[in-house]
Subunit: 460 residues, 2 copies
């Protein structure tokens, strides 16, 4: 796959000199380092080397770099740790790569207000760890939290395992510092719980995938760590549709888990082969959940009972985290198997059973095994298609995923729950957003980035 | 106070004929009805009569009316029940008033997915009542919920009493149908819990106060009604700063109330005079809260203990709603006293004690009594200044409120927590949003409404 953006005329050497004069040794021109900073964790490949990499150390660096790119109409890709799965941070040939990894300072922990102000390059798990020293935590927990940065999490509105209880990254962002395409610096949002002053640009920038501005710092909301020990529960099902119905019932109930994940039998087998963890081997699927707070044990029992009502054949609760740790092995285990042709669709939770049923039909029709890992509690699925390591095999697997995507949409769902559109799904955007809505989205983009230098041709 | 918008040349009679041909008898030209549809619940007065009122009965009516206004460059104000407190729905002289009150249909209650799709003119309490028939409820509860419409709630991102537990209206909105300035109809958002496809225009329209488009329908998130009986608690303080510190402690704790309100002694006296309710008369202030769920009683005891730790001199818990009902009398009681010069500021919850202290100093400096009612749990205050019913008295009271507004900002707060900017606070916008941020906001506005016909000169 190649980048679809227009070809860019590299600016004259004089312009590069100008950039170096502006930003000094934070400008990197070494081809090896440029190549290293050109990819993210998706299968999307850059068409060629970027012109330069700027390792920004301050908001002013970002502002200077964007002013320069704006003046010279150079396309810009923005990166933190490069963990994105949609190709949004892949370099443009002849473009500028703006890395915020060195902007990794936790500026302020405001414990009484449960707020933290951080630079964009802070690793999400580091923020969480710093908050926990004060009895607080940072609710969003994408699978990449140990390495991904908060700026990227915000730019993609990252999801994760705890969204059923705490919402998505957007819900945790109170205020932003953003550098616009032409280098202007703005600060959006407020430190209060309620604020209705002007348009909510904070929410607009969250999830905008680098298309509207570069997020350089954020004030995020923390929460108090729930008291007591979490309780983990599991429920095995002989039918994946039954597991889906159990999730629907739990999601509409008053006893709420903090986490509610689903692994189908094939995913469990792959994980157990990768690293035996004692996951119970279900006939069709297993639900793994966690409850927190004073009544964690009681809530886990209630949820297990709901599962039984909906057909669970084996259930259990425990105090340890082993089951969730096994769940977190799903990505590396699938990768180890070479099974990386996966997607990120979502459906309303009451459509989960229909979605699972439909995926089964697609699997039979294409005669391809599809394994399913899902943040079931919020209806977000990551089906993975079995495929050999050839372009033809990948093309066939993509065809299967297209069918899954269309199925999700037919059930009132979404083509991306948490990974974003980036470059990888850009050709599918029209499936979910009609021409009129896309036109409005692009008008907003044009208002903020009229020269189209920020992550052009991706995201929207 | 007069509208500050530019004078508009009324379009020719031919244009009005055209509007009537488009929309038929839903076009109202009768001056008495026009006058009635020209005001909202703020003290902001229209400069003169609008040209016409359209009582839209469908999204197509709205689209036709806006196409017409766009073609003739007629300024448009949008109204539901007219309960707004910021003048955002006040008619423009020579403008078009677009009323959505007749679009009052609950289109769908999707109980398994905890979603409702409603037209904009549905009264908020009616939606809540319909949801409760299925064991669900609509979390946002602005004080006006019995009369205000969901469209207005969304357009202003309305707050209310339960925000500490459930967030603001934005948090309850999944998808919108919006008619743009030129009559185009778009649908934003998704029915899923997670959706990262394109820019989040849904969040952008929420709270945009009629400046970007007209919200004609919404899909909103419902929640299951908590089990058991709610528990109400109260705590009286001899010092309002101590009450503020108790709120700060509660907001950062794990035992969370659904409601946490503060009334100062003067507000309690005014309420008791208006309608004796048995509210305990505090020396300085009383906190009134409510807990819900299985452990409501236990949580109430925990919260009362926190209040004692922070200096509460008298506390109690009960099963009834009487105390909250008394709290809800604050607005009519203050109105009955003629004390309607009030504002709507917010501070981070840990700054509440400093805010209360500062308001005390402002009161002494101006020698004016200031009574305070606050959604304390989320740091949102409605101070009311004692003032006689003359323009001079109002001017003096406004001066006091200006000081309170600047105090809130100096504490990291906001000039409006839940009422919005509208026309009333438009001159204060620059206090919170700097020129650079306002420029960006207006660029977004310009992208969606280049002829500036939607609620011009207000909101942003």
């Amino acid at each position: 796959m190649e980048t679809t953006t227009r070809t860019v005329r590299p600016p004259a050497i004089a312009a590069l000199d100008e950039l170096q004069q502006l930003i000094g040794e934070r400008v990197v021109l070494d081809p090896v380092q440029l190549a290293r900073a050109s990819r993210d964790s998706s299968r999307f490949q850059p068409a060629g080397l970027p012109l330069a990499l700027v390792r920004a150390e301050s908001t002013e660096d970002v502002s200077l770099a964007l002013s320069w790119a704006h003046a010279h109409s150079v396309p810009v890709s923005v990166r933190g740790a490069g963990t994105g799965l949609a190709g949004g941070a892949v370099a443009y040939q002849g473009g500028l790569v703006l890395s915020l990894e060195r902007m990794d300072r936790i500026v302020e922990l405001d414990v009484p207000n449960c707020l933290a102000t951080v630079q964009a390059g802070v690793v999400t798990a580091d923020l969480d760890a710093a908050a926990r020293e004060h009895g607080l935590f940072f609710p969003p927990d994408p699978a990449s939290a140990q390495t991904s940065t908060i700026g990227g999490n915000i730019a993609t509105n990252a999801g994760g395992l705890r969204c059923i209880a705490h919402g998505v990254t957007r819900d945790a962002v109170a205020a932003l510092e953003v550098v616009l395409a032409d280098g202007r610096i703005i600060r959006t949002g407020a430190r209060t719980r309620k604020n209705v002053v002007g348009l909510d640009l904070t929410s607009l920038f969250v999830g905008s995938e680098g298309t509207l501005g570069v997020i350089t710092a954020a004030t995020v909301r923390l929460k108090p760590v729930p008291p007591g020990r979490p309780r983990t529960f599991r429920a095995s099902f002989d039918s994946i549709e039954a597991a889906g119905r159990a999730v629907t019932a739990i999601a509409a109930g008053t006893a709420q888990p903090e986490v509610l994940e689903l692994l189908d039998a094939q995913s469990v087998a792959i994980i157990e082969q990768y690293s035996p963890s004692g996951l119970p081997m279900p006939k069709a699927a297993v639900l793994i959940g966690q409850t927190v707070g004073h009544d964690a044990a009681e809530a886990a029992e209630v949820l297990v009972a709901v599962c039984r009502t909906h057909g669970a054949v084996e259930v259990g609760t425990s105090e340890g985290d082993e089951l969730l740790e096994a769940r977190r092995l799903a990505n590396p285990a699938l990768t180890a198997q070479g099974l990386r042709v996966s997607c990120d669709v979502g459906v309303p939770v009451a459509q989960l059973a229909a979605m699972f049923h439909g995926i089964g039909e697609i699997s039979e029709r294409h005669r391809r095994r599809i394994s399913i890992v899902a943040h079931a509690g919020d209806g977000n699925l990551h089906p993975t298609v079995e495929a050999g390591d050839t372009p033809e095999e990948h093309r066939l697997a993509e065809g299967v995923l297209d069918d899954i995507t269309r199925l999700a949409l037919s059930l009132g769902g979404t083509i991306s729950g948490e990974h974003g559109i980036g470059a990888v799904k850009h050709h599918e955007l029209h499936l979910q957003l009609d021409a009129g809505l896309l036109e409005v989205q692009r008008a907003v983009k044009h208002a903020l980035d009229p020269k189209q230098i920020l992550t052009p041709g991706r995201g929207i």
